[in-house]
């Protein structure tokens, strides 16, 4: 085991004596006059309840978190008085601009407020009353198999990093927890949808999984966040919107409606985090550009995966008839262009200017335009 207590406390006279003193009524009250700021937070808007924004006050506020957190490696709550020997929890994300986004508290409150439950919020049994034609249901099963792979990675990403984020960044850590739940809920919903339709699961995607692992295993949080929170989530947001727009059933439309809300929150954070990062560490822009040069091929690994592309074409066209496939491939080509355009827009808005010129993705997309 990596950590043992420094002694056997059941045999330690000092500890036993301390406990006995307190339980004999001799309170030391060393904490009673804690040297901390005395405040009384209250909700600014009762309809909204008491938000984290309401408590952005004095030494307790997130606005006061310094760029470099040098004085806390323990789990002490930000703003409380530190005493005694506190352990080092081994955080590696101690720089605010590596993880923070100005909208993170808003997004955390929004995530809680806009919670949903796949078990009951999707009208599953409508699929019994209105089953889809075989080829459409098979396409859905494949699509939702693919989306489960993506949701799993979206859930793993914040899980990998949250224990490494300094405890002072509590609002951000909380948002990462909300992301974990969002990821798990989408995984659940997609699995339920795939199996409920009766076609079983489809095939895992080699190209997508190879790409997803490259993104998930990024060396640093800012890089991983751009890949997972901005690139992947942005692309999935476009796919969710697309499937909702061409939804073969009300079940799919409703499901995608919820999915797009969760994904849009993730994208908003991803964009905000990159913006904050570059604003406070402008020298990182070059490194980030280089990282994107190296890893943007994953966008193609996802969009070009037959396990995504083909079901999208079938769903967009409504079936496998010649005209349906034609309509489907044209709509899917538009989706791909839309997803890439929005991806580049977000990078630009985050402060990574000139990306359209550097990126090789637009050239690939140009070829689609011509081909389609």
């Amino acid at each position: 085991m990596a950590f043992y207590a420094d002694k056997d406390y059941t045999q330690d006279q000092e500890v036993l004596e301390k406990m006995n003193q307190v339980m004999a009524g001799n309170l030391g009250l060393g904490w009673y006059d804690a040297r901390t700021e005395k405040i009384k937070g209250r909700p600014r808007d009762l309809r909204r309840g008491l938000t984290y924004q309401d408590l952005d006050i004095g030494s307790y506020g997130y606005s006061k978190i310094p760029e470099f957190i040098r004085d806390n490696q323990s789990m002490v709550a930000r703003g409380s008085e530190k005493v005694g020997k506190l352990p080092d929890m081994g955080y590696v994300l101690n720089r605010k601009s590596d993880v923070w986004s100005d909208n993170v508290t808003t997004l955390y409150e929004e995530a809680k407020s806009r919670r949903w439950a796949p078990a009951v919020d999707v009208p599953w049994t409508e699929l019994d009353r209105n089953p889809l034609p075989h080829e459409l249901e098979a396409a859905c099963a494949q699509l939702y198999t693919f989306l489960q792979e993506c949701a799993l990675v979206s859930m793993d990403f914040p899980s990998r990093w949250v224990p490494l984020v300094n405890q002072d960044l509590i609002e951000l850590k909380s948002f990462m927890c909300a992301q974990m739940l969002d990821g798990s809920r989408l995984l659940e919903a997609f699995r339920k949808r795939a199996l409920y339709g009766g076609a079983g699961l489809g095939r895992a995607s080699v190209s997508a999984e190879q790409g997803l692992k490259e993104w998930l295993w990024a060396d640093t949080y800012p890089q991983g966040s751009v890949s997972i929170n901005l690139s992947l989530a942005g692309l999935l947001l476009a796919v969710y919107r697309h499937v909702a727009a061409f939804a073969p059933s009300r079940v799919d439309r409703r499901l995608m409606g919820y999915a797009m809300q969760d994904a849009a929150r993730q994208v908003s954070y991803g964009l905000g985090a990159l913006r904050y990062h570059l604003r406070h560490q402008p020298a990182q822009a070059a490194a980030m550009n280089q990282y994107l040069d190296d890893t943007e091929h994953v966008i193609l690994a996802l969009l070009g995966s037959p396990e995504l592309l083909e079901p999208l074409i079938i769903i967009s066209g409504g079936g496998l008839e010649r005209e349906q496939v034609k309509a489907g491939r044209l709509a899917t080509a538009k989706l791909i262009r839309l997803a890439v355009r929005e991806y580049l827009e977000r990078l630009e808005a985050a402060g990574l200017s000139g990306r359209p010129g550097n990126s090789r993705i637009p050239q690939a997309i140009e070829r689609i335009q011509v081909e389609a």
């Binding site: 909204r48 439309r253 908003s268 929005e342």
Partner: protein, 147 residues
Amino acid sequence: MAVSFPSVEYFEALREKMAAHQDKFQRLGFIDTTFGVSVANNGKSRSFILEFEVYELKSVREVPSVDPRQVDFVLVGDSRVWREMIENIRRNGEADTSHDINTLAHLGEQLKIVYDSPDGHDKLYRFMESIQEFFDLTSQVDVSFNQ
């Protein structure tokens, strides 16, 4: 009495219905966005700005035109498209899968989404279910078309 579309009265009527269905909107969660709606007819447009806050439509006003920099996004479309959507909602009690906001706006072929910043654009999707439920309240309002 029927309210005409497009008009401030139409959105006010939806606002009242929204207030009357607070349970539903609270269940869906906070909705904090300000967006524009623009309805074009014969080369002219009527534009509105809708400001949502917490669970409510806080205000609606008609404006000569919507500056995308002042709002999160603008839903722009021909009156024919809007009318078809409204009639569909009134017929079905809610928009069917071909007439919801996302479907109409997705590829920009019926409604267009105009925005200045991707942050604002993404809010359409962050609050999509609430926005759709808001428009679906049209099923409870008598609407006439004045264009």
